[in-house]
């Protein structure tokens, strides 16, 4: 290999890289003081106020049900001044608004839209993480290592949380402990008649298997996890066996049973008709040859020699064209992702461009000055 990242760089190269980094820094600093500045997030508070309505049962005075009613801020203030804060719940939600709305509000002289510090800090943090990961392209460095550790930690936690709330709670706890779940976790659920459905006891099996799986963490209990592992591998083997034979073997064979001769569709003239017939038939012929040749390549019982070898070689050609196509498409995808990250930096953070019309046009034209 001609070069690698670990080779030292010449001083000239170093200097150019320093210039690149410096210019990014300068743009950020200058940008933050010119025009509308950059990288801020505005929110509009939305108060959520609830008042309890206690209804006492007509038959039994000691039984009462509490229901909560959402009220407007005015009603809430009136209620609080009369009854105090007992039997009330309130919190504030914040809706993100485009900076344009804030500027308009300032021009009009005040309103409820405010700068959100947590989100603004978050935005800058996101920009920092983005640049920190990109810095690995230059070389491994502490910023990258920090970002790497954060992504490992946050993602592991994220998956656990999502797995718990989206699968364990609704699919396991709601079935095995319906009353508890309804009272504390998922108030929207419906209780089965009698509060518990005995057929759901079958869900003790995944619970036990799940606990055995986690038992792996204990020393000497490693074998416990083999049972759930066996279950997972077994179900998957069964499912995949049928699914792949049906969809990939039968269906794909079916799709390949096509006539090699196809009448062309373009009938505007005799000449065009012949040509479109040739093109269409050629496509079918090449397709069938390709499938058969590639199957020969994957044939393991015979050495690739003689006629088999030649056919297998045609098969490799097809495979290479397939890989070339895959390469082309993959490149497309990767570049789109990079474009999205660059758009984040330019649009959300630096406020250089404004494709979603989130700000006044003025800020975009100030961006043009650079």
């Amino acid at each position: 290999m001609s070069s690698s990242a670990s080779e030292p760089m010449t001083p000239a190269q170093r200097a150019i890289w320093a210039i690149v980094c410096l210019s990014i820094l300068v743009i950020v600093v200058v940008r933050s003081f010119i025009g509308d500045g950059m990288g801020r997030v505005y929110v509009e508070p939305k108060p959520m106020d609830f008042v309890a309505e206690v209804t006492t049962s007509t038959e039994n005075a000691s039984e009462s049900t509490t229901s909560w009613k959402q009220v407007s801020t005015v009603e809430f203030d009136a209620y609080v001044s009369a009854n105090g804060y007992t039997n009330t719940i309130s919190w504030t939600e914040y809706d993100q608004v485009p900076p344009r709305a804030y500027f308009a509000q300032e021009a009009a002289g005040g309103g409820s839209i405010v700068l959100s510090w947590p989100r603004t800090i978050g935005l800058w943090l996101a920009a920092f993480f983005t640049l920190a990961i990109f810095s690995f392209l230059y070389r491994d460095n502490p910023f990258y290592k920090f970002a790497e550790s954060v992504v490992v930690g946050v993602s592991a936690g994220y998956w656990m949380v999502v797995g718990f709330w989206d699968t364990i709670v609704p699919n396991l706890l709601q079935r095995l402990m319906p009353v508890f779940s309804k009272d504390y976790l998922t108030p929207g659920m419906e209780l089965p008649p009698g509060g518990f459905d005995p057929t759901n006891l079958v869900f003790l099996i995944p619970l036990v298997l799940g606990i055995m799986l986690v038992g792996r963490l204990l020393p000497k209990c490693g074998w416990l996890s083999l049972w759930p592992l066996a279950f997972i591998v077994g179900t998957m083997a069964g499912l995949r066996m049928v699914g792949y034979i049906e969809s990939d073997i039968l269906s794909q064979t079916k799709e390949t049973v096509i006539p090699l001769y196809v009448q062309g569709e373009n009938t505007s003239s005799n000449f065009m008709m012949i040509w479109s017939t040739i093109w269409a038939s050629l496509a079918q012929i090449l397709l069938v040859i390709g499938v058969l040749a590639c199957l020969v390549y994957f044939f393991f019982s015979v050495e690739h020699k003689g006629a088999v070898g030649k056919t297998a070689r045609v098969g490799i050609w097809y495979l290479m064209i397939t890989f070339g196509a895959a390469f082309g498409f993959t490149v497309m995808g990767r570049i789109a992702l990079l474009a999205a990250r660059v758009e984040f930096l330019f649009d959300d953070w630096m406020w250089l461009i404004d494709p979603m019309q989130q700000r006044e046009f003025i800020s975009a034209s100030v961006g043009l000055l650079f």
Partner: protein, 457 residues
């Protein structure tokens, strides 16, 4: 269901005898009026036997109005609702009588309390709310071209009871009168889903081919398998790592144990670990799934054991990083630049990380051997690694490496599968081509049978 007419005819003629509850309606005379088209006649609806439930086969005779003056036929269905229990028992006289008889027999025969018996009887003879007179209140299942005189209603409630009607639609969008309603049809599930029969046969064929060759291999029949380039390189790579005193990195893909590529990867790992144990090289296996870690530890431990070096096995070198794809990649690429492994193996199911891994491995100068069945990642492995196992070769590799007769036999079984597929394609393509050139009807029927029934499932 893309059912061709030939299949329909075959199915209905062959299976009518089996079906219970067939209802044929007397044909009503076609009216010779000019404005609305004449209604279709002879509506026959049957629960499709041997299915997974929820499908009804409907056939009818064409309307007297010529097909070119019709837009098509509309299929109407109505799911009967059960009359509320009390109403059925207390208001409907006939039901009352029936229920009373049933109650009586239950009381006498089984000694059930009157109240319960009554309820049970009501349940066992359901009474339906009579269907709406106005067909516009029936639900439309769809409109078929005027040349068609059959329809498979799918996606019906398996536990429901349905009535069907057909009406013709004229070119102006005007409807004919609807046919009389079909009888009550229950689209129940059969014991066996007949539509899946070809699938079952294929499954049995492939499975038995694999099985037979495994048995033959165990009996000592020699199994010759072509060389798989790249596998010989395993020893070389391990040897080089030993010489250089650096570690071997083994990545088992980023999917869980539910992916069979991961399982195949674990099998290859067992072999690589055994070589590593013999050479006394350090092998490191970071995984992206905790179950894979579990399986990998088992495999490596037994490899060290069979290599006679159980003491050298260090479970801490096989560890979980994170489930998150890019968290995992960030970790691995960082680790690679720091530790500079001498050999990298990528065996399993890979996605976007393939290139990052292979490129990083390349930049630290490692020998790289990859194997995956994810075609989209193959170009990158092919380009950036020293050896790549392509698709099925990867599965074959795990068999080839083990050298066990069982595994080699199963490879032969797979080859039988490929021969079958090839033969079917060649026969089918020949028939289809002859049909396209000659336009023969009997050939068309044969091709349709092959495509829709044998391969259709």
């Amino acid at each position: 269901m893309r059912t061709s007419s030939i299949q329909t005819i075959l199915l209905t003629t062959a299976l009518c005898a089996l079906a219970g509850g067939q209802v044929v309606l007397g044909s009503s005379k076609a009216r010779a009026s000019f404005a609305p088209p004449a209604p279709p006649t002879d509506l026959v609806a049957n629960d499709l036997p041997w299915d997974g439930g929820g499908t009804v086969q409907i056939d009818w005779a064409a309307s007297a109005t010529p097909a070119d003056q019709l837009k098509g036929y509309e299929i109407l269905a109505h799911e009967l609702e059960v009359t509320p229990r009390d109403a059925a028992i207390e208001t409907d006289e006939a039901a009352d009588r029936a229920a009373a008889e049933e109650t009586q027999s239950l009381l006498e025969g089984e000694g059930i309390a009157p109240e319960d018996a009554r309820r049970q009887a009501a349940l066992s003879t359901p009474e339906f709310v009579s269907p709406p007179e106005d067909v516009s209140e029936w639900s439309s299942l769809g409109i078929v071209p005027a040349t068609q005189t059959d329809y498979q209603a799918t996606g019906l409630n398996k536990a429901g009871v349905y009535l069907f009607k057909i009406r013709a639609i004229g070119l102006e969008g005007d409807f004919s009168a609807a046919t009389a309603s079909s009888g009550e049809i229950r689209p129940v599930a059969a014991f066996f889903n007949g539509r899946k029969l070809p699938l079952l046969i294929t499954l049995i064929l492939i499975a038995s081919a694999v099985f037979v060759f495994i048995v033959l291999a165990r009996r000592g029949m020699p199994m010759r398998i072509r060389k798989i380039a790249g596998l010989a390189a395993v020893d070389e790579a391990v040897g080089r790592a030993t010489e250089m005193g650096r570690s071997i990195l083994y990545i088992n893909g980023i999917q869980d144990m539910d992916d069979l590529q991961t399982v195949a990867g674990v099998t290859v790992l067992g072999r690589v670990a055994k070589t590593a144990a013999e050479y006394d090289a350090k092998i490191e296996v970071p995984t992206s799934r905790s179950l894979v870690m579990t399986a990998a530890r088992e495999a490596v431990q037994s490899s060290y054991f069979s290599a006679g070096r159980p003491d050298a096995y260090n479970p801490d070198l096989i560890y979980y990083v994170t489930d998150e794809q890019f968290g995992f990649v960030a970790y691995i690429s960082g680790m690679m630049t720091r530790e500079k492994p001498a050999a990298c193996f990528y065996m399993g199911s890979f996605f976007a990380e393939s290139l990052i891994l292979a490129e990083t491995g390349n930049s630290v100068g490692a020998i790289q051997i990859a194997g995956t069945a994810n075609p989209s990642q193959l170009p990158f492995f092919v380009a950036a690694c020293d050896y790549t196992l392509i698709g099925e070769e990867f599965f074959a590799a795990s068999a080839y490496l083990s050298g066990q007769p069982d595994q080699l036999g199963s490879l032969k079984g797979q080859d039988v599968g490929k021969i079958l597929v090839g033969i079917v394609i060649i026969i089918g393509v020949t028939l289809a081509t002859l049909q396209a050139i000659t336009g023969s009807d009997s050939l068309e029927a044969a091709v349709n049978y092959l495509v829709n029934v044998i391969l259709g499932s």
